[in-house]
Amino acid sequence: MGLSVLTWALILIFMGGAGKSAMFPLHIWLPDAMEGPTPVSALIHAATMVVAGVYLVARLFPMYYFVEEGFVLNIVAYVGAFSSLFAAIIAITQTDIKRVLAFSTMSQIGYMMMALGVSGYDGHEGVGYMASMFHLFTHAMFKALLFLGAGSVIHAVHSNYLKDMGGLRKHMPITNITFLIAALAIAGVPPLAGFWSKDEILVAAFENNQFLYSIGILVAGLTAFYMFRLYFGIFWGKETNYAHKPKESPRSMTIPLITLAIFSVVVGFIPFSEYVTADRLGFVAHINYPLAATAVLIGLLGIVLAWIFYKKENDLAERFAEAFGFFYKWASNKFYFDELYLFITRKLIFKRISAPIAYFDKKYVDGTMEGIGNKTVVVANKIKGMQSGKVQDYAFGFISGVVVLAIVFIYLWTN
């Protein structure tokens, strides 16, 4: 396809990273990995494993930037932006709180990929690279906090589902406050950590690709909305009648929450751009006030919408879901990607490739070998009659042989 080997190599490396970082369409493993215990989820989804793909692209960033004038980098940007929007839409429809967080993670990682994709290299041009790494860093804090907070809630109510929760703010004050801090941070409300890094990403997108910027700002709004849908759904909303009265988690669970909450507030003030940049030379980042204000406003709009929908028990959300009927169903079923994958693995690979091969092996490959064996037996059966044990037969054979040989020799002799 007219691309150099190096370009293909970079595309393949990005695909590997995309699989690890749950980029569309290699994302389906991530929500299902939610079955793991919550601290493991926090580790996998927030801090370490899942961002390895972003890190991989960032490590090879000079290659991505200089080979074929950043052709592959464009792919990175669009895949990131699409994944981020795609996951944010699904997150709005999910009812399992850990799944909401999982799709939220996918969405935020899409953000990081997008930031890498739109980044330049020199000095302030490389703001996207810096922002991506910065967001990776701040996201780890508040996403780990959200997961551990969700774990604390699940521990208290023995359920993963939003329908079993509500009004928990009175029962679990510490979890409530820390969860709120994390939700504000991820929604990009200043001066929490998420605001600073997200703002830089949007600046980078705005300066390089206005279309991606518009997706980014839309996702910012959606993020704020689904995060506060979650927050209001768990801690406000309807008063659920609990079988066991939920109570605040023990100190072994609240201390990590408080610690992470402190980090979620303060890490945004680290002057990241002086340490981590594409060209290894620091620069001083400035706030672009119009862009920052837009982002904050969009975020607040999302929060307000969530407040209207979910703070008090009402049927607004249901009515909206009905209005969007088909689309809502499509999104809440994760756009049927799981089914597509199952179709490929079960129907195609297992039934259409693997089963015929196993059959072919038994029937034809082995059958041929069997056939050779059987033919030998058949031939043996045919000629075993010659060993009849009757002296007359042997004598007949013997004499006939002598006669035939005699004729042959005489014939040869006379010529």
Binding site: T345, I349, A358, D361, M369
Partner: protein, 495 residues
């Protein structure tokens, strides 16, 4: 007695000692002691080789040459290089582990251990021979006891499987014999006496026409034992019917004879033939790699899964050998070793599961991790090693194979390499499928709740096999250096 001949003589002494035993306890103790001494000898040989190799730069060291049958110039000619030393070590470990796993062979224990050791004698003899005829002789000695071992101590349609295995391997031997005689009859290009000595033949230019004719015979002759597609069908049936220790030795050691023979005889003595034919056999080997993997997905019998997995993994060995370069060859030898340990471990575990649950059908098993945790955990580890997780030997081997294969720059090699690489993903599918169905989930059968844990002899056998897998995976360099040095002289023919 020299250090190498001992490897053939010691099993014979043990066999003689076994003849005078009269119960299981004595038989297994003698067999264990014998195998333990062999392991000690193999480790000693390794160190002796490393020392010798630094001062002696001939291809084979510890050589010995006795005229055996003068008329045909057949010699008892032995010697080793790094590759055979590594494979001898593999053999000694698997034989010892096999003896531990067969600790409770109640039927005819004496005869069982005797057959096992005859097989071991053949294998050791094969690895130390550097005379074609002696090599072929030991090759046959290794194959024959298999018939008895499967036919007598096997399970299921054992007579059928034993017959099938022996006939197919004998058929291959017939081809091989023609190939070896062909090499022999062309071994005097400069008018001297005909010879079977590998070293002498390697100095001779065998005519191109003869190479072209005899390479496929020699290659197929050996490669059938290495489960070359489409001559692999003896292997699933054979493994399924064989008793545990025999499956271990068979898949772990005997199938390695194929790859080793291809490398030592077909590639080394007929390099031009190899270059002419490689494209054809590469297609067969790559087909075997992907085909074996897909066929394994569909199986429900644990032993069949593992047998098809062996077809796939050993297909990679042949595939790598045919790539005709240093890195790939290094990978091929490492894969032989790695697959040897891994598959022996798998068969040992399958045997342990079978003796407890009396079934090998994964759909009837479930939740074993809850009831027999040790065995299950080791199974998971073996599975991860098999699918090439870094830190285990399989990764090192496959990495070398694919990097080496990719060094061939033309489209043909690249496409087939990519196809073969994709088999890794399929491997993950069939391994994790078994782990998911058999080890995880609910316990399907009430009677499984009271399964006994692994005994001391089972644990010992399993750990013996696990140790090298981890050792090669974590520190592959010393081994790979030793192999690379030994590969060097073999490369001259194909460059």
């Amino acid at each position: 007695m020299d250090i190498l001949s001992l490897f053939v003589v010691l099993p014979i002494i043990v066999i003689i000692a076994l003849v005078f035993t009269n119960n299981l306890k004595q038989a297994r103790q003698i067999a264990m002691t014998g195998s333990l001494i062999q392991l000690g000898m193999a480790i000693n040989l390794l160190f002796a080789y490393i020392k010798e190799e630094s001062i002696n730069d001939s291809i084979f060291v510890f050589t010995k040459d006795i005229v055996w049958f003068e008329q045909f110039n057949i010699h008892y000619n032995i010697g080793v290089d790094g590759i055979s030393v590594a494979l001898i070590l593999l053999t000694s470990i698997i034989v010892l582990a096999g003896v531990f796993i067969s600790w409770k062979t109640y039927d005819l224990p004496k005869e069982f251990f005797i057959s096992l050791l005859v097989l071991a004698t053949g294998v050791y003899g094969f690895f130390i021979s550097i005379d074609l005829f002696t090599m072929f002789l030991f090759y046959e000695i290794a194959v024959i006891p298999m018939y008895l071992l499967i036919g007598i101590w096997g399970s299921g349609p054992k007579e059928y499987s034993a017959m099938k295995l022996t006939l197919m391997l004998m058929g291959a031997s017939a081809l091989l014999l023609v190939g070896i005689l062909g090499i022999y009859l062309n071994s005097n290009a400069d008018g001297g006496p005909l010879t079977f000595s590998i070293l002498e033949i390697s100095q001779v230019d065998i005519p191109f026409e003869a190479q072209k004719l005899f390479f496929p015979l020699t290659f197929i002759g050996f490669a059938v034992l290495g489960a070359l597609f489409p001559f692999h069908t003896w292997s699933p049936d054979g493994h399924a019917s064989a008793p545990t220790a025999v499956s271990m030795l068979h898949a772990g050691v005997l199938m390695k004879l194929g790859g080793y023979g291809v490398f030592r005889v077909a590639m080394f003595l007929l390099p031009e033939g190899a270059m002419v034919w490689s494209w054809f056999f590469i297609i067969l080997a790559a087909t075997g790699v992907i085909y074996g993997a897909f066929a394994a997905i569909r199986q429900t019998d644990l032993k069949y899964i593992n047998a098809y997995s062996s077809v796939s993994h050993l297909g990679l060995v042949l595939f790598a050998l045919l790539m005709l370069n240093k890195t790939a060859w290094n990978g091929a030898i490492l894969q032989s070793l790695s697959h040897g340990f891994m598959t022996a471990l798998f068969f040992a575990l399958i045997g342990m599961i079978y003796t407890r649950t009396h079934t090998r059908d994964i759909t009837k098993l479930g939740g074993l991790l809850k009831v027999i945790p040790f065995i299950s955990v080791i199974y998971v580890i073996a599975g991860l090693a098999s699918l090439g997780l870094p830190g285990f030997s399989g990764f090192v081997a496959e990495m070398n194979i694919f990097v080496g294969a990719f060094q061939n720059e033309d489209m043909f090699h690249r496409v087939l390499t990519i196809i073969s690489v994709s088999a890794i993903v399929v491997t993950a599918v069939y391994i994790l499928r078994v782990v998911g169905i058999m080890l995880m989930g609910p316990v399907k059968n009430e009677s499984f709740l009271s399964l006994p844990q692994a005994t001391w002899y089972e644990t010992t056998g399993v750990l013996l096999l696990l140790l090298p897998i981890v050792a090669i995976g974590v520190a592959p360099l010393w081994l790979s250096d030793m192999i690379l040095k030994s590969i060097q002289p073999f490369l001259q023919g194909v460059l």
